[in-house]
Structure formats: structure tokens, C-alpha cells
């Protein structure tokens, strides 16, 4: 089962969903804090859901306040970077570029893509953490005490 967990994790990296920052987070886990990455991940998805909601509302209003949108996206990109959410981070960067260019259509398009990537990552990570918990502490805990 642990091999299955390892394979799933590897595919997340290979397919570009996660980058080396995720590995940095795993390095910080130990016997005392074996669920650190899962906890950070939960925080990330709670935070980002709120940001997505804010951006959705702002876009729905029709008036494009690019400064405000850029500010939301700065936060989104920041936390995505901290957790190693590579594809989401890329979409955030693109969105910000469209903001700076004042390109409303580009923003809308990119935001749809961002939401898709975000939802996909969420599902994949939830699956990964679930399996990792079932497989036992050996796979998730990395740092020796």
C-alpha cells in the first residue's frame, strides 16, 4: 500500500501538479507532527476557497477593479507557492498579467482555468492524504526525531 502512495505522489510531481516546495513541507514532518503537510493543505484549501469566492463576486459585478483583483491574486499566488501547487501558481501568474494589461476577457478565461486546476488538485491531494493515512506513518513521516 505504501508503494501505491509513493506512486501517486510521484505522478503528482511528474504531471506538474506539485513542485519541490511540497517536498520541503514533507521534510518538516516528524513523529510528533506526522500530519503537518495535510494540515497546511487543509488551511490552503480553506483560504483559497474564500479567495475564489471573493474573486467570483468581484467578476460577477462586471466592473473590473484590476487593482483589487490583482491584490486577491497576489495572496492566492503566495499561498499556492508556499504549498507547492505548481499549476495553480502558473494560472495565478497569468491572471495577474492580464490584470496589469487591463484585459478583462483574459482574466475571466484564466480564472476558469484556475478554478479547474484548483479543484483537480484538491481532489488529488485529498485522495493522496487519505491513502497515506491508511498506509500508516512510515510513508508520510520523513524527519527523524
Amino acid at each position: 500500500m505504501q508503494r501505491q502512495v509513493a506512486l501517486i505522489k510521484q505522478s503528482l510531481f511528474d504531471q506538474g501538479y506539485l513542485d519541490e516546495q511540497f517536498m520541503e513541507l514533507e521534510e518538516l514532518q516528524d513523529d510528533v507532527n506526522p500530519n503537518f503537510v495535510e494540515e497546511v493543505s487543509a488551511l490552503y484549501f480553506k483560504d483559497s476557497a474564500r479567495l475564489i469566492n471573493n474573486i467570483d463576486q468581484a467578476l460577477e459585478r462586471g466592473s473590473f477593479d484590476f487593482n483589487r483583483l490583482d491584490s486577491y491574486m497576489h495572496q492566492f499566488k503566495g499561498s499556492s507557492t508556499s504549498i507547492g501547487a505548481s499549476k495553480v501558481k502558473t494560472e495565478c501568474t497569468m491572471f495577474r498579467e492580464y490584470c496589469r494589461a487591463g484585459n478583462a476577457e483574459g482574466c475571466l478565461r484564466t480564472f476558469q482555468q484556475l478554478k479547474k486546476e484548483h479543484a483537480t488538485l484538491r481532489k488529488k491531494l485529498e485522495h493522496y492524504f487519505q491513502l497515506a493515512r491508511q498506509a500508516g506513518p512510515k510513508e508520510t513521516a520523513r524527519r527523524p526525531k
Binding site: 518538516l28 488551511l43 524527519r143
Partner: protein, 191 residues
Amino acid sequence: MAEVLLPRKMEIAKDPSKFGSSDLLHVLAVDDSHVDRKFIERLLRVSSCKVTVVDSATRALQYLGLDVEDKSIGFEDLKVNLIMTDYSMPGMTGYELLKKIKESSAFRQVPVVIMSSENILPRIDRCLEEGAEDFLLKPVKLSDVTRIRDSLMKVEDLSCTKSIKKRKLEVTENVYSLDSSAPSQLKRAKI
């Protein structure tokens, strides 16, 4: 140590170390991002530091006792060895926080490290000019934290060694002065 009334949002990390807390570096971390706060707190704990985390520059000033306009003296008894702050925060930025800390008599000697996700050279220059100890690009690495911690520990060690040497010499002087047979021409080297 002064007792500080803590606002609800402040998170105080429990010190899990088996050493006395006076031996550990106490770091105040400031970041408006919940994810980043959790991350930096973990990095610091793993590096054997005592951590206090707050979610804004305003709360940092409250914690330090610098939030009162007419009394920018600060809590004199509060031991903070390092302040790590995010640059871009709503309300007061990390740069403005840095300035306020450097203006205070109680905390101007405390090294302040700025963290930012954006690699903007004028920003970095401005922070360093204002007295920031270092400027870290996010995501912060564990190696960044241990490097800063190690250099701070060296400074702590040096000042500790100095005060131990001084005390030893003072004790020796007392012993000599009690002994009346000691030659009065004994010269003592200045520290």
C-alpha cells in the same frame, strides 16, 4: 517577563523543547497569510526556536508594546531575539513595521528579517537601508532560517562569553583586595 494581554487572533506556539526557554532564541513572526504563518512557525520550531506568530504588523506592535503613540518605549522586559515579517500586508506593511521597530529604544537592536514573494531590487534596497538584517524570498527555506539562527547564536554566544569573562575578573579583583598581603602595585588588565 512582562505579562502581555493577547488579542484573540494571536497564536502563541507552545515550546516543546526540553531546554529552558531562556536558552532558545525567541522569534516573532508576522504574516497575514494563514498558510505562511503555519509554515514559518514550523520552520522555526524545527530550528529549535521559540515562536510567537501574529497576523498583522499592528498586532506585532501591540505585542511589543509599541502601539501607543506617545509611549514608543515598548515592553522593556520582553525578550525577542529576531523579528521575521512579510513585506506585503494589508494595513501596515513589513517595511513600515521595520521602521517603527528601529525607532523604538527597546527593540531597535533586534534584527528584523523581511520576507517577500517578489524579487524587487528597489524594495530590497530600501529595507536593507532602513536596517533590515536580511531579505528572504518566499518560499522561505529551512536553510535560510538555520543560517540566520546560527549567526544570531554566535552573537548571543559572544556577548555571553564577554559577560562571563567580566564577571570572572571582578571576582578575582575582590579576592585580591581582601588579601592585605597582596602587593598594591598589582595591575589589572582592562577587559
